[in-house]
């Protein structure tokens, strides 16, 4: 039986259930030391002095590292190297690392970090992204505060349509809030290099940055993946890696640290807060004539992934619609707010909220049902993508997504006697008589894989030895189940053999990041090719040794079948393992022309969401009752894992819709705890209904598409549309707060 397409058991599940799975904070070493990061309490300040002599007498303190101790590149970064390993004279955001204290216990390191005296000279804080554009504002980076302006134009005029709507929307800063806080162990190697055991989305991008900062050749920086407690984009950038690697090389001892939750909130880049100004023009029958959008993204203090995020926001600003004229611009600016970077959905989340909210305004203006308005405008096979002009080909089943989504069963009326069912839950605050139900609908689109001319590739190796089949890849298992997918794919190529997936390691060849819904796509492609080659070599060897034609050699789950005889792998392989390495190249993309036009994406993922909410409009309380979704998944490699991505993504979309907002008050983060930054619990989460639409993507191995990001795209606007329907409020901002509903804000 083929394993691709079936809900096989994920290989790590037993260890995760019984608690024996090794997360990055479970990794220890003999004779280890512990680190603690000293962070700027200011959003913008000169560092006048770092007074370490007070710690000199502390027998538990081993060393204190700061920018002066960085032997190599002082600046690193995921895409551009603009972020100092430690603040270099100036701290540009609240929580920026200033020093790293190494001590004999974790508690001693924290205590010493607290006692370290840093004198700061506060500087004016540029916390308003609008002001960052003002030429009179201070420049936070060479070349000005604009990190990227992505301006896309296609077709003619964007004014003068018979019907026009215009509005401005806002989305909040969202934290990935993965549960496994940042932690790693660095071990000095005898050759002067360093080994890190860590949790990261991208081993090789980390490796390059660590090697540059430590001035080490790449092959002396070895990265071994330890268990990852979630990621969602929050582990794309460097946080503690270089501090630990440096500490290990300086002290000659293993050094580890685990952030605490408040520190984790400060340390990793988050989803860009956005201001989205939209103007849509349409004919009287609802046919879209133009989309005009201006999107401002608050990139925070450093570039991180702001450049591609701005590209993504711009390219998806007109949704999955046929639009003859488009003028959209997304600008990411530098401020003294927390660094923004990658989070699941990557700019397309913000754009989707703006575009879908504007579509609902248009529907209301025209008196057309919002679902019907979308039906009239969605892309069909053969259309051009609205912002890039790229042909969408056949893999754009939007009409089917709408049909399948609206056909999903609607939830029952809330049982008035069930306190769990009402807004406010067992707080018993709402009475059924005050509760109004609303339904909302939205569509989403995003590309999978990197875009705009970045070559997409991944390498993997498949080894067949006497003990079985092993896949070696550097792909990050962030929870999504890529280890399961890779094993399924290899097993199918090798006649159903059991396959184990080795721990990811930087020696395993480039895999790139587990982001952009790409890991299963590109590493799956590489594993398919490597396993196919290993199977061919295996058959050829058996054919030669047993003097039979290759066609008579059949790979079976328990061995190799040769003329009716089943030979165990151990006999066939003996002492000579077979290894095959393959690199999968995805179809290439190009940079857009001066108007952003061109084949900038490999292909797209489409999704529909319908949300049902109950709202107590007097108290401003919302219960998201149900979110139904139809998602275009190419083919579902593991349907159970796909469902998990859809459910989990909807939870995060629900969080952005009604709960999650990491607040920065003049650049200082105000709610860096799970007490104040609320993520959905079982009591907040909606029931989900799911329809998978499987239309193979010609670009994908086996026709698969990415699935991780679409669930967070249109779930948020669908929920907000439902709240608008229940309350009649305009609701231009997420998360929607009680005061927005009761009208006191």
């Amino acid at each position: 039986m083929r394993r691709v397409g079936t809900s096989v058991r994920r290989p790590d599940v037993a260890a995760k259930i019984d608690g024996s799975f090794v997360f990055s904070n479970d990794v220890t070493a003999d004779d280890e030391l512990y680190g603690a990061t000293v962070r700027s309490p200011h959003a913008h300040a000169r560092i006048i002095d770092l007074e370490t002599s007070g710690l000199a007498a502390d027998p538990e303190v081993v060393c204190v590292l700061s920018i002066e101790d960085v032997p190599g590149a002082r600046l690193v970064g995921h895409i551009v190297a603009d972020q100092p390993v430690f603040a270099d004279g100036v701290a540009r955001y609240h929580g920026e690392p200033v020093a790293f204290v190494v001590a004999t216990t974790q508690e001693a390191a924290w205590a010493a970090a607290d006692r370290l005296v840093v004198s700061y000279g506060p500087l004016p804080v540029l916390h308003d992204p609008e002001r960052a554009l003002d030429p009179a504002s201070p420049r936070l980076r060479a070349g000005g505060n604009v990190v990227r302006r992505a301006h896309l134009r296609r077709g003619g005029d964007v004014s003068g349509a018979p019907v026009e709507v215009e509005a401005t929307f806002h989305t909040a800063r969202q934290d990935q809030a993965f549960l496994g806080v940042e932690s790693a162990l660095a071990l000095p190697d005898a050759d002067g290099g360093v080994t890190l055991r860590l949790a990261t989305q991208d081993l090789h991008t980390d490796q390059h940055q660590i090697a540059a900062a430590l001035d080490l050749p790449l092959d002396k920086v070895r990265l071994e993946m330890a268990g990852i407690g979630g990621a969602f984009g929050g582990r794309e950038d460097i946080t503690l890696q270089i501090h630990l690697a440096l500490a290990a090389t300086v002290t000659g001892r293993p050094v580890r640290t685990t952030y605490r939750r408040a520190e984790s909130f400060l340390a990793h880049p988050k989803r860009h807060p956005a201001r989205l100004h939209y103007r849509l023009g349409a004919e009287l029958d609802g046919t879209l004539r133009y989309v005009y959008a201006r999107i401002l993204l608050d990139g925070g203090a450093y570039a991180s992934t702001s450049m591609p995020v701005a590209g993504s926001a711009a390219y998806f600003a007109a949704g999955p619609y046929r639009v003859p004229a488009v003028d959209v611009e997304a600008t990411s600016v530098c401020t003294n707010n927390p660094v923004s970077g990658a989070m699941r959905g990557f700019g397309a989340v913000q754009a989707c909220f703006g575009m879908e909210s504007a579509m609902d305004l248009l529907a209301a203006e025209l008196g057309i049902d919002p679902v019907e308005l979308r039906r009239r405008n969605v892309l069909a096979p053969g259309d051009a993508f609205p912002t890039s002009g790229q042909p969408v080909g056949d893999a754009a089943p939007l009409a089917e997504l709408i049909d399948r989504c609206v056909e999903l069963p609607l939830p029952q009326r809330a049982d008035p006697d069930d306190p769990y069912a009402l807004p406010g839950g067992t707080g018993n605050t709402s009475t059924a008589a005050n509760v109004r139900r609303g339904v909302g609908f939205a569509l989403g689109v995003k590309n999978h894989l990197y875009a705009e001319g970045m070559q997409e590739e991944a390498t993997a190796t498949v080894v067949v030895d006497a003990t079985g089949v092993e896949v070696r890849s550097a792909a990050s298992e962030v929870g999504q189940g890529v280890v399961s997918a890779l094993a399924q794919i290899a097993s199918d190529e090798l006649g159903g053999q059991e396959v184990r997936v080795a721990g990811a390691h930087s020696d395993h060849g480039y895999a790139g990041s587990s982001s952009a819904s790409r890991a299963t796509f590109v590493s799956g492609g590489a594993v398919r090719d490597a396993a196919g080659e290993a199977a061919r070599l295996l058959r050829a060897r058996v054919a030669q040794r047993w003097s039979v034609p290759e066609a008579e050699v059949e790979l079976r789950p328990t061995g190799v079948l040769v003329r009716g005889e089943l030979l165990p792998l151990a006999i066939v392989i003996g002492e000579e393992p077979i290894a095959a390495t393959a690199t999968f190249l995805a179809p290439s993309t190009e940079r857009g022309d001066e108007h952003g036009q061109g084949s900038v994406h490999v292909s797209w993922m489409f999704v529909a969401h319908r949300a049902v909410v109950d709202v107590d409009a007097q108290l401003g309380l919302v219960k998201v009752v149900q979110v139904a979704t139809a998602q275009d998944v190419g083919i579902a490699v593991n349907p159970r894992a796909v469902r998990g991505q859809l459910d989990g993504g909807i939870a995060q979309g629900l969080g952005l819709a009604v709960m999650e907002h990491l607040q920065s008050v003049e650049g200082v983060v105000a709610n860096a705890t799970f007490t104040d930054y609320l993520v959905p619990t079982t009591a907040d989460m909606a029931a989900t209904e799911v329809a998978l639409v499987e239309r193979p993507d010609p670009a994908g191995p086996f026709g698969l598409k990415g699935v991780g990001e679409p669930p967070v795209l249109s779930s948020t606007p669908a929920i907000v549309a439902a709240i608008r329907a229940a309350t009649g409020r305009a609701l231009t901002r997420v998360p929607v707060r009680p005061e927005d509903i009761v009208g006191t804000s």
Binding site: S20, T104, T105, R261, Q480, G644, T682, A683
Partner: protein, 175 residues
Amino acid sequence: MSTDRSTGPTSGSNGRSSTDLGEPTVRVHVNGMTRELGATSTTSLLRALRSAGLTGTTGACEQGECGSCSVVLDGALVCSCLVAAFTCDGRSVTTIEHGVAADLGDALERHGAVQCGFCTPGMVMAATTLLDRCDGALTRGAVTEGLAGNLCRCTGYRGIIEAVLEVDGLRRNGA
């Protein structure tokens, strides 16, 4: 954050046992075995357990907000990050290392209740308590409420809730 300089090593399981440094310890019955755990004035039960090598219990917030550190203390489900280890002398603690009922583990797997797995041990402890303690059949609302203290950022909870309801149903039918 503690600035108490006397705070000793409570992290790490590198063999540097707390007794080596002459620190206060407590004797706790962990999963039926008596263990000596390091317990300074600021050591949480979570850190004490993890320092003793029982790393199945995770800790995502150490503030009582996420439930990932759930253990059973003298029969009550608690957030071990909120319990001072020094209060546990002579008491009984059950952690994930005690084992997972086969039917529950199987149901969690089949319902896709596990992704990154960081929340899972805490979920298992909470679910086990819920299943063992309920008098009548568990309702969806009761499971929702019973697990509301356990955050999961990956799964959206559906698989977890379905798994617990299924196990309760099967146990009740004597299956």
